[in-house]
């Protein structure tokens, strides 16, 4: 079974040379730490920066340079700043190649819910609805089950949706799965995790074809 770092490490393998990538808050942010350093990648943050770098050294924080999680950051050579409409123009116009974000629920038809728990948590969707509605290549990073042990990979989402039919791939602590017309196609198992464990943790339709390899990290 993977921890959050492991999930980020596995997703980093999906980041290819020449990609512009938008990383969501939480596990997705960690992905930047594990991208191969022999490829050229630029990270976009929807508050208006392309070419995000690591956190600044202590004492070098700049209140005017933050990421979408409101954390102080630095920029890499070649970076640029822009306004919010331009930023979402990049996203809506499909200039960003890969979007990695977290989710509370994903359904077997690719629906995603990650912004609201009625009566409990209403913080808003931020840029998530724009991202999922426009990106062609969306990877969800999340735990396979919630804190109560219930599956987050469902037949239908129960929470208010963020987007419909948009998720392509999911990387969890247990598995890598692809959304296909009939449900969640199991691609890889996390190290030491059995197919039985994945079956039990998946409420939606799980498709298992042939031998399912263990992830390489």
């Amino acid at each position: 079974m993977l921890d959050k770092i492991g999930i980020a490490r596995r997703i980093a393998k999906e980041v290819k040379d020449g990609y512009y990538v938008n990383l969501g808050i939480g596990i997705p942010t960690l992905v930047a730490n594990f991208v191969r350093d022999d490829i050229s990648v630029e990270f976009q943050s929807e508050n208006g920066v392309l070419g995000m770098g690591p956190f600044p050294f202590e004492g070098e924080e700049d209140a005017d340079i933050i990421n979408a999680g409101k954390q102080t950051i630095t920029t890499m050579p070649g970076a640029s700043f822009f306004d919010s409409a331009t930023s979402f123009g990049m996203i809506r116009g499909k200039h960003v190649h890969l979007t990695i974000l977290g989710a509370m629920e994903v359904a077997e038809n690719g629906d995603i819910a990650n912004w609201k728990i009625p009566g409990k948590m209403v913080k808003g969707m931020g840029g998530a609805m724009d991202l999922v509605a426009s990106a062609d290549n969306i990877i969800v990073a999340m735990m396979h089950t919630n804190k109560a042990g219930e599956s987050k990979l469902l037949k239908r989402c129960t929470l208010p949706l963020t987007g419909v039919g948009c998720v392509k791939k999911i990387v969890t602590n247990l598995a890598v799965l692809e959304i296909v017309p009939k449900g969640f196609k199991l691609l890889e198992r996390a190290p030491g995790v059995s197919i039985e464990t994945i079956k039990k943790a998946t409420e939606g339709n799980l498709l298992i074809q042939g031998d399912i390899p263990e992830m390489e990290l």
Binding site: P56, E58, K70, S84, A85, G124, M125
Partner: protein, 233 residues
């Protein structure tokens, strides 16, 4: 040259009244019009509608207006990090309209550029699209969103000149340029107000035509919400 300078925030906010709709720039606490917000608190304007990506934190930014119950309605994309906001929203004291971030930016931009409405794929199939016109383009569904209409836009820039030209810094740019010229009156506060001719016309982000009043801001706190650093070794 058409001069846009006013003396201070008091002069800049002349004409604001109860019940008006304001646009306020900023992402989190980054690039917010601190001086305009302070003046709105001092004026005790009530029943206002604020179009702003976020709602500040409990004791800073728009949180200061929330504390004094000056806001009737918030139009935002993300309102976490503010307990008083959540309390007022759950108790029904505060009306909240949550809008996808890119749509919010574009609704400002549309008002700036004279588009009454536009189609976006964001929010299709979700509760955000409920009751809205939808239409298919190239096999994909889109939602019709209308331009905002506001009385004042309050923006914050890094440098500006007497003609109202603006240059922003870093990610403090965010929604600020999109809101310039998107309301009846745009008020820009700047860290550095310069004589006309001091800024290179090639480097202007927002031309002064979109700004009606500009003033030299004071005592910027520029609070950091999440101070994240890495070790030196």
């Amino acid at each position: 040259m058409i001069r846009k300078t006013v003396k201070d925030s008091r002069e800049a906010l002349q004409g604001v009244e109860d019940g008006m709709t304001f646009m306020l720039g900023g992402f989190g606490l980054c690039g917010i019009p601190e001086n305009a917000i302070s003046e709105l608190v001092r004026l005790e304007i009530k029943n206002i509608t604020c179009i702003s990506n976020n709602a500040g934190v409990d004791d800073f930014g728009l949180g200061l207006l929330l504390q004094k119950h000056q806001i009737k309605k918030m139009i935002s994309s993300y309102v976490g990090e503010n307990d008083e906001f959540e309390r007022q929203m759950l108790s029904g004291e505060l009306e909240v309209e949550l809008t996808p971030q890119g749509t919010l930016a574009e609704k400002c931009k549309a008002a700036q550029s004279g588009f009454p409405a536009f189609y976006t794929p964001a929010g299709y199939g979700t509760e955000v699209a409920e009751g809205k016109e939808t239409r298919e383009f190239n096999g994909k569904m889109h939602v019709l969103e209308y331009a905002y209409s506001a009385d004042f836009a309050f923006v914050k820039a890094w440098k500006g000149d007497e003609a109202g030209n603006l240059i922003f810094k870093g990610t403090a740019r965010n929604f600020n340029p999109c809101m310039c010229g998107a309301a009846k009156i745009t008020v820009a506060e700047v860290e550095e107000l310069l004589p006309a001719g001091s800024l290179d016309p090639n480097e202007i982000h927002i031309p002064g035509i979109f700004v009606q009043r500009i003033f030299q801001g004071k005592q910027y706190e520029k609070r950091i919400e999440q101070r994240t650093v890495r070790p030196r070794n």
